[in-house]
Amino acid sequence: MNLNQLHQLQPYLWCLPRQPGETRAEVMLYGSAPLLVSMDDKVLEQVANVACLPGLAGAAMTMPDAHWGYGFPIGGVAAFDAEQGGVISAGGVGFDISCGIRCLRSNLTVHDATPSFTRLADTLFQTIPAGVGEEGHIKLNTAEIDQVLQEGAHWAVRQGYGNTADLEYIEERGCIGGAVPDHVSELAKKRQRGEMGTLGSGNHYLEVQVVERIYDPAAALAFGLHEGQIVISIHCGSRGLGHQIGTEYLLMLAKAASRLGIRLPNRELACAPIKSPEGQQYIGAMNAAINCALANRQILTHLTRTAFTEIYPHAELETLFDVSHNTCKVETHKIDGKSRLLHVHRKGATRAFGPGHLLLPERYRTVGQPVVIGGSMGTGSYILAGTSGNQAFASASHGAGRAMSRHQASARWQGRALISELAQLGILIRTRSMRGAAEEAPGAYKDVDLVAEATEQAGLARRVAFLRPKVCVKG
């Protein structure tokens, strides 16, 4: 991205000035100059298109890890006001609805756990269904799927997957309201029958990590983190059901937009007014998919505990937090000093409520919401905490962001060689897809340290802990 097109407002905040006659809303880009320079020009084009949509509240924004997506950029944040003709966009949520990260803290230290890492890696790989074509052990009929879509992680806990203590530390306490299973197609439900409790593929993973560095001791204490501690991150989403909803509604909303007189700068921005029947239908289906994702990560949490106790009989894994980064949620935010009820789209962006927010669990209320920036399998990840001064509708980065395409990565690295190299560094990878491993090579991602630093410097969230990967089950 050419920075000459931008105006720097603050060291880590830029805007795209409007040309004479341009009627779009403001565009704000968070990040450092090097991160923005590394972004494709398409990011700017996409976020500028988002700023043209009706009913946008404030600015269309990108986070420091933004990259070119479909419709909205990945790392995009946009809030719409239903009372001002605001829209809901399937492309603003993404196909993997409510993709996110469940983070578990353990009572194990790296010292205790290291001698058994190989056995742990093998056991996790056998226990967690991962990769394309892999089904889970849970088979559900349509009526049971409907229950999952209504009840989210609560359904999973009732079936014996995890415990009620987990629910307190999941966004929406494990179940979002407004889910309408009837707005989810039969094909979407059929796709999900064998996919509950599966990790998926691509950039999804289950990673065993060690807390290598604490940045904020007070927040770390509240989050129950200390140096040398083993934690686990599970990155996945709503699986086939969410993918099917995303694909079906993208097309439906694209057709609806032209019928409803919405002039789209690009049809990939497929959307409908929040108050329209089409908009309401998508919202009902999307909320159902959010519940599906919450249930899926709850089941995977249970499977992870099963694998851990097989290797470490005294292991205890508690849910630190479960946060989604592909959603649209109804939230109250202040704009120009006035509280407004908004539909906040976060596509590849994490909610990051600051200290004192009433939706946070009491344990975290004084320090802010846990935020996870997932890095590559060879570098590391960050846990951050929400800040009070966040001006991006309480949003923050979600990952490192890709530095090169999958095709470029698979041409440059070979899966087996890469896995051997990482093993030499003390990182054990288990995967069924050598091609997938090559595409996910650490070198294919941007520097997660720069993203986390920029996220903090921009005032979006502050760093609490750095996590170094030790075992990674890749989808």
Binding site: W68, G69, G91, G133, L250, A254, E268, R406, S433, R435
Partner: protein, 138 residues
């Protein structure tokens, strides 16, 4: 010439796929082949079972996306991977027959494709060649 042209184009996080043929149907079939080649090595997928389906779509570009997404949906619903693709259309109706087999240990595990998007979606006719393309989310 068709076989030598790469069936993919670059995208930051996902993958651009291209299907080319001398008819719209052939371009759609080649696009499906490009999608499923991301998922596994199609050379070893046996055409053991046939799956048929139909859909209606007046817009040919939207039809390309619908075709790919129905294939992905059926594949996941049935636990199958497809390697042979046939589609016909008249007026707004599209009728497909695809062949493949259930997943088994002998098949390479590539990367899951979540769905076809409207991004960079196009269907163009140049000379004697039809070319369909779009970004697929992986």
């Amino acid at each position: 010439m068709l076989a030598q042209s790469p069936p993919y184009f670059e995208h930051d996080a996902d993958i651009g796929i291209i299907g080319r043929g001398t008819t719209v149907e052939q371009a759609f079939e080649a696009g499906a082949h490009a999608v499923f080649a991301i998922i596994t090595n199609l050379d070893v997928v046996q055409p053991k079972s046939a799956v048929t389906f139909e859909f209606e779509e007046a817009d040919s570009e939207f039809a390309f996306v619908t075709w790919l997404n129905l294939l992905l949906g059926k594949s996941r619903e049935l636990g199958m991977v497809f390697s042979r693709f046939h589609v016909q259309h008249w007026d707004n109706r599209w009728r497909a027959e695809v062949l493949g087999e259930k997943w088994h240990v002998g098949l390479e595990r590539g990367v899951e494709v979540k769905g076809a998007t409207l991004t960079m979606l196009s269907l163009k006719h140049a000379g004697s060649i039809w070319e369909a393309r779009c970004i697929v989310d992986v």
